[in-house]
């Protein structure tokens, strides 16, 4: 039978006396005065503090009294499993293993865990929020980098209708394209980008650049359609928000969160997708071109033309970064798209 010597502390009082804890039958505990044997407390309703290496065992009772003992070699039957954690915490081998595992797990969480968690949330974002993200982003872009298109309205309408027709022929769309917008972008140059909610923005410069290669221009549009279909924009936002929350929890600091959150709002406008997302959209574009009966090389042609227009060597990673932080290793992508 369990029998542990210790101290009984009276309810909400500094008064205490030597006592013995016994367990006459499994689950039922009795605290007796060490000298007189008077029962001070008995029952099954008790709560144990977490057991830790080197610390006494403390049992709290409903009336506010408590029993304390530094002898933790025996435990009441209900608390046997309790001791497992403190055994783990005693292990030097495990501590050494933890030193190695912790950095590895942090890296994995950052690169795999958080993105996976964030992507699973994307389908649950309300449509109203998605729509307003596009409005906000376009509004900010119009205030900073973009100007009204100088293309004739008739030309805009013709291109838009042609592309939407091609989109529908390329396959069934999981996510509808919200709008195709034309903008003059002297600073950005020849480019096109997809906003998170499904708006595609096309610069006058890229229309001008590829005016003799309509298939190449279509390939670029299909690439952006790929971003829309896979919801790369929302996934990127979700990931940066999740990073902000995790960072805030880790740092436990409200101020840093503010900065991180405010930071993501502006970086999102420069929409840089991850390399994986770009390759996924590239593949989507070449697949769709095949579906439409066009040469899959059209996308590679477009990439080459865009690179040339920005006057950088496709093999010069540093020079590329300046213009294409969103388009990593473009030489590799041209090669992929040419196959």
């Amino acid at each position: 039978m369990l029998r542990i010597e210790g101290v009984y502390l009276q309810p909400a009082s500094t008064a205490h006396q030597a006592a013995v804890l016994i367990e006459p039958h499994a689950g039922w505990l009795e605290v007796q005065d060490a000298v007189t044997g008077t029962v001070l407390w008995q029952g099954t309703d008790y709560h144990a503090d977490e057991l830790l290496p080197g610390l006494p065992l403390r049992l709290g009772f409903a009336d506010g009294s408590c029993f304390e003992t530094s002898n933790t070699s025996q435990l009441p039957s209900k608390l046997k499993h309790h001791a497992k954690l403190s055994q783990i915490e005693r292990s030097t081998v495990l501590a050494l293993l933890a030193i190695v595992l912790i950095p590895l797990l942090c890296l994995w969480t950052y690169f795999r865990g958080i993105p996976a968690l964030a992507y699973s949330l994307v389908p649950h974002v309300p449509a109203a929020v998605v729509a307003s993200i596009d409005e906000q982003s376009l509004f900010t872009l119009d205030k900073t980098l973009l100007e009204a298109s100088k293309l004739p309205i008739a030309e805009q309408t013709r291109l838009r209708e042609q592309w939407l027709k091609d989109f529908n022929q390329a396959g069934s769309l999981q996510v509808p394209v919200k709008a195709i917008e034309f903008r003059d972008a002297p600073e950005v140059g020849a480019n096109a980008f997809a906003l998170p909610g499904g708006t595609i923005v096309v610069t006058d410069q890229i229309v001008e650049l590829l005016k003799d290669q309509p298939d190449a221009l279509l390939a670029v549009l299909l690439h952006e359609l790929g971003h829309v279909q896979y919801q790369h924009g929302l996934k990127t936002i979700a990931q940066s928000a999740a990073n902000a929350v995790v960072l805030a929890v880790v740092l436990g600091d409200l101020g840093s969160l503010q900065e991180v959150v405010v930071g993501t709002a502006t970086t999102m406008v420069q929409a840089s997708f991850s390399r994986d997302f770009e390759l996924q959209a590239d593949t989507f574009s070449t697949q769709a071109l095949k579906q439409l009966g066009k040469s899959p090389n059209a996308f590679a042609d477009a990439l080459k033309a865009i690179v040339k227009s920005h006057d950088v060597d496709p093999n010069d990673e540093k020079g590329m970064l300046k213009y294409f932080s969103s388009h990593p290793a473009i030489a590799e992508r041209i090669k992929n798209a040419s196959n």
Binding site: L9, Q10, P11, A12, S13, T14, A15, H16, D49, E50, L52, P53, G54, L55, P56, R58, G60, A62, D63, G64, S65, C66, L85, I88, E89, R90, S91, T92, L94, A95, A98, I99, L101, I102, L105, C106, T109, G113, V125, V129, S132, I133, Q136, I237, A241, A244, V245, V246, A248, V249, G252, L254, L257, Q258, V261, V262, T264, A265, M268
Partner: protein
């Protein structure tokens, strides 16, 4: 360790302390033991996506509290991990909401900043209340009795006002903050009292400002000398050396000013703090030895990429404990908390939000 007070001292302290015994606070934690607990808890927190962090907090606090002893009796941390998990989940939900709303409309962050200004006193009150309620010594709990209005006045009002006085009011504001907190702490239903003069706060602030100027001037001179000496060894060597010297001065400045404030203000506060009929305190922290401790702790943690944190923390606790003396009257032996004994009233007061930890500390 505990010796009866001399008769002369006993007489002078007679009205407050019928007969007190001196006890130096003991800290018996072991760095190697604590390291294993700490690192395993971090690992489990990561593996459980942060959920276990609530248990980790309870275990860490329990280790530190239980190894802090007065007169051979340890403190006890009573919080339940679920209470801490609730607080953290609510906080994370609010963060996530803000993060999403901010994409919805960037103006949200502006509103949030303003809201935080008014939420801060509430969070501070809440976390102090929780921390005190969850601390017990010899089975009697601490309590905190501050109010939202009080925190708004002393922790937002006065500091904001001091900005308009070119921070001249700041030391006074800090004094009022300390007084407010310590006058609202209770042990077993007995309030602690603290009454301070602003003079010590002002003289300490001015000393720190003066010393900072001196250290900055010394730093400029030292960096110039290093640059001259280093230039004989080449440009890169000169830059690296200057950087190291400037960095050492910077850490030194941060450590010494922090140590000065902590030591002087803590000693002054503790030496004036009392719990009527029950306890008075003495603190004798020294700027030089405390600076040394902080400086070596900083280097230790930095050069081990954080792995030495448990050692640094244990060293800090040991030092603080060794500098603190508590004079306890005999009443400690027969103290009961009437409110805490009435367990139904106690539970009622502890309902809902009062029992969730929104730790700011």
């Amino acid at each position: 360790m505990s010796e009866p007070i001399t008769s002369v001292d006993a007489l002078s302290a007679a009205p407050v302390q019928p007969s007190s015994t001196r006890h130096i606070v003991e800290f018996t934690g072991d760095a190697a033991e604590f390291f294993r607990i700490w690192i395993v808890n971090i690992l489990l927190s990561i593996v459980t996506l942060g959920i276990y962090s609530a248990w980790a907090k309870v275990r860490t606090n329990q280790y530190l509290y239980s190894h802090t002893k007065i007169a051979g009796h340890a403190f006890r941390y009573l919080a339940n991990p679920i209470q801490i998990l609730k607080g953290r989940l609510i906080a994370v939900a609010i963060f996530a909401l803000i993060a999403v709303l901010n994409h919805f409309n960037p103006l949200v962050s502006l509103g949030v900043s303003l809201l935080m200004l008014f939420a801060f006193p509430w969070l501070l009150l809440q976390s102090l209340r929780f921390k005190m309620r969850m601390t017990s010594y010899r089975n009697v709990r601490f309590g905190f009795h501050g109010s939202y209005g009080g925190f708004l006045k002393y922790f937002i009002g006065l500091p904001v006002l001091s900005v308009f006085t070119m921070y001249l009011l700041m030391p006074y504001a800090l004094k009022r903050m300390d007084e407010y907190v310590y006058n609202n702490v209770s042990y077993g239903g007995r309030r602690s009292t603290l009454s301070l003069e602003a003079g010590t706060y002002y003289s300490t602030a001015f000393k720190i400002i003066g010393m900072s100027f001196a250290i900055v001037i010394a730093m400029v001179i030292a960096v110039m000398i290093t640059a001259v000496v280093g230039s004989m060894m080449g440009e890169i060597a000169s830059q690296v050396l200057s950087f190291i010297v400037a960095g050492a001065f910077y850490i030194g400045l941060a450590v010494i000013s922090r140590a000065m404030w902590t030591c002087v203000i803590r000693n002054y506060t503790y030496n004036n703090l009392k719990v009527e009929q029950l306890a008075t305190f003495e603190s004798n922290m020294e700027v030089i030895s405390y600076s040394k401790l902080l400086f070596t702790n900083t280097l230790l943690v930095a050069f081990t990429l954080g792995l030495a944190y448990p050692w640094a923390l244990i060293r800090l606790q040991q030092y603080r404990a060794s500098c603190t003396t508590v004079l306890l009257s005999e009443e400690i032996e027969r103290l009961t908390d009437p409110l805490q004994q009435d367990s139904s009233a106690f539970a009622e007061e502890a309902s809902d939000l009062y029992d969730v930890d929104f730790a700011l500390t």
